[in-house]
Amino acid sequence: MSEADSQTESEQTATAGPARDAAPLLRLRNVGRTFHTGDVAVTVLRDVNLEVPRGQIMVIVGPSGSGKSTLLNIIGGIDSPSTGEVWFGDRDLARLNDAALTRYRRESVGFVFQFYNLVPTLTALENVVVSSQLSDNAMDPAEALKMVGLEHRTHHFPSQLSGGEQQRVAIARAIAGNPEILLCDEPTGALDLETGRNVLELLDRLNRDFGRTVLIITHNSAIAAMAHQQVRIGSGTIAEAKANPRRVSAGEISW
């Protein structure tokens, strides 16, 4: 893909994205998170205000310890804020009980982790089924694997797959339940440049072709170049949040 092409495309999506639906998918209002260990209280997030637009790619960049994983966990419903509100549609995640949060994760969220977190004793296909069997409007797991280009590896165990392949299985698992948002925690963190790029291209394609909202957190600022929305987080607060008018295709990113 040439630079010109990609630019045109980025511009198109950058403008087309918000235009698709004005209401953001997620809205965070004054979110704070404090951990207590013994007598020590550690505040990891404070006063975070953020809107995640529907159908776009948002990349949150920050150094380790900046609170980005905690933010992702709160958005994903596997952690709850100490203060503030997290609105998903008309639901405030901060006020949901455990069962409702579980339902939220099941129906609306797909997770991609840095270390893939596949079940080692299940094959690629079975790992996808683990997720798809939870959802009523799930994709065919084999189809999901085909989408990530692993239709020839369906019966391999994670230990028989390369890191990039494992991450692609993890992405297939994440999309199999037809979630509204894909949450990716350092998706390239354990991969080499080439494989990392492939994974990012895959995420880009899922956004472009299937309209998935993708939220990536990473310490790698280079990745922000592919985002519609770029967010910088530091010391638990949002340092900067802006639209990216000049999107670069994932294939051109380098680090």
């Binding site: 596997i78 339902r103 270390f115 079940v119 004793t121 683990v130 997720s131 069997q133 939870l134």
Partner: protein, 793 residues
């Protein structure tokens, strides 16, 4: 199949080494439960059917002679007595062609025509009597089998000092003689002791009891069955003028007592033994599950993040325990049923039942399976709780490094520095994994306690046999006369070939009274210089028979609540009917029955007799040809009612005990081995998996797999030695408990644990610990440590 179930299967397969070890213990627990509970139910059901079928008596009364007419007047309308049957019962000797020794047994009379009577028989071969007056006999089936006798054969019985030639018309069994013992015996001796059923009329004539009986068996009405004492006291009072020798309620009937003590023993073991094994399994499973919770931390967190509810995860991980429980339960139930077959076969050697089969007790098997599943799930709950408690966000983060706290010993730096670093690792491992250490100690405690218990049983049995046959009763034969004889009879016996020593006995059946305490029993008069019966105290010291007064066995003294120096009222059954006042001189010990001894001459004098003899004890030349001659002469002595071959009894008892003990030694050792093996393998393999990288590092540094293995060996040794240190005293307590539980009026076991038993128990425990190291060693040698080094835990 659901993918999570597929994951479960693969998780189970991955943990197979540890699970196999655990499975062994669960299987043993379920096996014990199913086998013992099945045998218990089969025995108890057979017993109840058999008792109902043959109208087993609720009481038995032996007396000198009671006319039948009087009896119907006295007992006919007595409240509480549902039915009764007067009988003729005598100890007799029998002569079989081609058999050297005189055989002994009991004559029991039966109506001339079959009908449902109290203590009825079930014909096994042949048929019932053809005529009330003919010399026909129905034999106790086990005796007939042992002596190869059947319908049409003939044998000679000495009845009331006259020899009668009888024709066998059939063989039979009766609920009264499920466990048939001769006088002084502990195990059935079917070759030499039998029951001879004779037609009533014939028996009465033979024993000069026309229109009379010397034994009554009867059944009580419903409400008196559970509490027969009042009715039986009343019967005893009513019949006292007829010379009541013994009133025996069903609970103390010999065969019933032995059978019930076996059945009750099973009932206790059914609860106690499987619980021990399953408790160990719970503890070990808990350790394994905690490990799996650690291992699956991220997987569980991911599943939660994907939207699996806590309930779904709970059901998934609990199924791990349930699967182990189902596998252990199924294998245990099948093996349990098979070993129940073996146990039933053993019981049929000693207990005569019309039908005692190893019926599959489906409910027991289902319950055993259920137990196994419940215990296994209980063992997993703690680990599952840990998995559920973890928040998904937390589980995504790598495990916090293990707390490197100092162990207690490290506070004393000087002492700590005396250990090399491998010992230091061992000590830290033991103190940090407290649950694992505790479970290992618990398994070793149970294992060694069980072994000690088994050796204690063996020691006590041996001691009992030695005390009874080498210290208390030293004679070769005890002969009982049919009537009270005088010194002439003693002289006659002394003239028999091979007889080295004869000591007369004077047995007086009586009732002892002390205040409201009352006990039927007997006093044996012993010669002052008696050498063939030597009363002893608990330490084995001989106690001389006092010139005046009684020696009472401890149990009898306790029952009558008397101490040396107290006096007892004695009411003799024969001789004078007056009540006599006898002082208690000393207390002695005996393990069988409740004996009382007195000086022969003094006792004679007290009963206004002189030189009265009811039996003799003999020491004989034991060369076979002399014994043969002795037997031949013995058969010619019609005055003899019973012959008890003490040395043969001892030999037989010893053989049976040794055989049974061999079986239990093997079984218990195997079971204890399963405990040691299971626990060590389980914890070592877990520890090996946990310390994968640590071990790999050592291997890289140049340590051999043997040197690494030593760390594990030392750890096992420490834990198991500690377990044995707890298990030996715990076993001692267990032995005391069991010993008390088995002490009854008829039979008591001495409390003995030989020094060798302690040592062998400890050595076996140590041996198991070392043996269990073998698979651990192999696992270490096969470990791919290069890979382990690169792995991300």
């Amino acid at each position: 199949m659901n993918v999570l179930d597929r994951k479960l299967l693969r998780d189970l397969a991955a943990a197979r080494g540890m699970l196999l070890a655990l499975l062994c213990i669960i299987v043993v627990g379920v096996l014990c439960f199913v086998s013992m509970a099945s045998v218990y139910l089969n025995l108890e059901q057979s017993r109840q059917r058999y008792y109902a079928q043959t109208r087993m008596a609720d009481f038995e009364i032996s007396l000198r002679k009671v006319p039948l007419q009087d009896l119907s007047e006295l007992l006919g309308d007595l409240r509480g007595v549902a039915e009764y049957r007067p009988r003729v019962v005598f100890e007799v000797t029998a002569d079989l062609p081609g058999v050297e020794r005189p055989l002994t047994g009991q004559v029991v009379s039966l109506p001339g025509h079959p009908g449902p009577v109290v203590n009825d028989i079930l014909i096994r071969r042949g048929g019932y009597f053809t005529d009330d007056r003919r010399a026909e006999v129905i034999l106790h089936d086990a005796f007939a089998r042992a002596r190869n006798l059947g319908p049409g054969d003939r044998l000679r019985l000495i009845l009331n000092e006259r020899i009668h030639e009888l024709t066998v018309v059939g063989t039979a069994i009766s609920a009264e003689f499920v466990y048939l013992l001769g006088p002084g015996g502990l195990i059935p001796d079917n070759e030499n002791y039998g029951v001879f059923y004779l037609p009533e009329q014939f028996a009465r004539e033979a024993f000069d009891l026309e229109g009379a009986a010397n034994n009554i068996v009867g059944r009580l009405t419903g409400e008196y069955r559970e509490r027969p004492d009042a009715v039986l006291d009343r019967i005893e009072q009513i019949l006292e003028p007829y010379g009541v020798a013994a009133v025996t309620p069903l609970a103390r009937q010999q065969s019933h007592w032995f059978l019930m003590s076996e059945i009750d023993g099973l009932k206790v073991s059914v609860v106690f033994v499987p619980t021990l094994f399953l408790a160990v399994a719970v503890v070990l499973l808990n350790v394994l599950m905690t490990r799996i919770a650690e291992q699956q931390r991220t997987v569980a967190g991911t599943l939660k993040a994907l939207g699996y509810s806590n309930r779904a995860l709970f059901s998934h991980y609990v199924r791990f325990g349930a699967a182990v429980g189902v596998a252990g339960g199924l294998i245990g139930a099948v093996l349990g049923w098979l070993s129940a077959g073996g146990m039933v076969e053993m019981y049929t050697q000693y207990y005569e039942f019309p039908e005692l089969a190893n019926r599959p007790q489906v409910l027991v098997m289902v319950f055993g399976l259920g137990l196994s599943v419940v215990f296994s799930i209980a063992g997993t709950l703690n680990g599952v709780r840990k998995i559920l408690r973890l928040s998904p966000a937390e589980s995504m983060r790598p495990r916090p490094p293990e707390q490197g706290r100092r162990v207690l010993l490290e506070r004393w730096q000087w002492a700590w520095r005396q250990f090399d670093f491998r010992w230091q690792m061992v000590l830290r491992g033991i103190t940090r994994n407290r649950m694992r250490t505790a479970s290992g100690v618990f398994a070793a405690t149970v294992g060694s306690a069980l072994m000690l218990l088994m050796f204690h049983m063996r020691d006590s049995m041996n001691e009992m046999v030695e005390f009874q046959f080498d210290q208390l009763l030293i004679s070769d034969f005890d002969l009982t006369f049919r009537n009270v004889e005088d010194e002439g009879a003693v002289l006659e016996v002394r003239r028999m070939p091979g007889v080295d020593r004869v000591e007369p006995l004077f047995n007086v059946g009586c009732t002892f009274h002390n205040g409201h305490h009352r006990k039927k029993g007997g006093i044996t008069g012993l010669m002052r210089n008696a050498r063939l019966t030597v009363p002893r105290d608990v330490a084995g010291n001989a106690i001389a028979v006092p010139r005046v007064g009684l020696l009472l066995t401890r149990l009898l003294a306790e029952e009558l609540d008397v101490l040396p120096g107290d006096v007892l009222i004695v009411e003799p059954v024969r001789g004078r009917q007056d009540r006599l006042v006898f002082p208690v001189s000393a207390i002695i010990d005996s393990y069988l029955g409740m004996a009382a001894y007195a000086d022969y001459d003094w006792l004679n004098h007290q009963l206004s007799e002189a030189g009265a003899v009811t039996g003799v004890q003999l020491k004989v030349d034991r060369r076979p040809e002399v014994v043969r001659e002795f037997y031949r002469e013995l058969k010619q002595l019609p005055a003899i009612q019973a012959v008890s071959a003490i040395r043969e009894n001892r030999k037989q008892l010893e053989e049976v005990l040794i055989e049974q003990m061999m079986v239990s030694v093997v079984v218990v050792t195997l079971f204890a081995g399963a405990l040691f093996f299971g626990s060590i393998l389980n914890s070592s393999l877990i520890s090996l998996a946990e310390r994968n990288q640590e071990i790999a590092t050592f291997r890289v540094l140049g340590y051999t797999s043997r040197e690494v293995g030593q760390i594990f060996l030392r750890e096992s040794l420490c834990i198991n030695l500690l377990g044995m240190a707890c298990g030996l005293p715990a076993g001692y307590g267990l032995c005391l408990l069991i010993n008390r539980a088995y002490s009854t009026e008829l039979f008591r076991l001495p409390f003995v644990i030989q020094p060798a038993s302690w040592v062998v128990t400890a050595l076996l425990g140590l041996g198991f610990t070392l043996l269990a190291q073998w698979p651990v060693k192999r696992a270490i040698a096969r470990q791919n440590w290069q890979e382990a080094l690169n792995a991300r835990e």
